[in-house]
Assembly symmetry: C2
Homo-oligomer: 151 residues x 2
Amino acid sequence: MKPDLRTIQGNDPADSYRLEDQVGYWLRRAYQRHMAIFAGVMSDLDLTSMQFAALVKLRELKAVSQTELGRLTGMDRATISGVVARLKRRDLVLYKPDPLDKRSRIIALTSSGEALLADAMQRIGRVTEQTLEPTSAAERESLLATLQKMG
Amino acid sequence: MKPDLRTIQGNDPADSYRLEDQVGYWLRRAYQRHMAIFAGVMSDLDLTSMQFAALVKLRELKAVSQTELGRLTGMDRATISGVVARLKRRDLVLYKPDPLDKRSRIIALTSSGEALLADAMQRIGRVTEQTLEPTSAAERESLLATLQKMG
DNA sequence: CCTAGATCGTTCGTATACGAACGATCACCG
DNA sequence: CGGTGATCGTTCGTATACGAACGATCTAGG
């Protein structure tokens, strides 16, 4: 069915390499499109998808240390540091000292953080809907399962 | 099989929202892991996946304008500008004037660019292999097809 | 109690990412 | 031919992303 291009073109794997055949390329493209959809739906809230992820986790857990919040949302120390700082600057989150560890900084939602998040959560379904719009229900299930294995 | 959490927890879609159920979250995770694998395999070449993508396209097309190269690799004007500048600084690519358009800048591989790319292309299979390692052959085909629809 | 190693959050350096504004140029239309 | 809108690449501002080095603190072991 599918001819082996290496046989046709030679033994060097480089000869048959095309960007458009690579998972990495399409992972990036799909993620990129998802981000653009997110930005569009949330544009008037001025909220990035990473900021949203952090707020969602805070809503779920009430209060976590900054590094732990990073772990839960998939951001390293240095990255979550900036994300949280920008949320703090807008008074969407606040800092609390950790009575058990002076190194640690506990992060929690403020009421305006909760309010903004509530608004964003009303819209998040549209983001997923548009992201997955080109796919069938079966594809969606399979995609999610496969991505979870890979993550 | 799967209970509708909205029915159990209330009517607000926010109540049933979990980061871990979202495509966007897993797209990011999978892409992130792919990037880490790429960086590991290519570490001694000091080549990012975006730089690699640009070099691959240049090898395929011999010479393209900078903006066109960006389009083909999925980077906007501002981003490809920096990527190409860093490749130029390392003499992996060179600039040529476009005889037909004074605004345009034609980019092409240098011989050291070709050499480095040849090395990278010998390894790229390992990157894909490791990225897809947790998945079956059927899942790989399905994943690629679905991502392509979404991209 | 006291030190070696782990962990917390910061900062720096580098590399994407992308919207917006800019000057130069191009293409097309009247 | 002259002007208007589109396109080329740059620069700026902002937001991730992440390795590395740092000071402060915590933990475990002796």
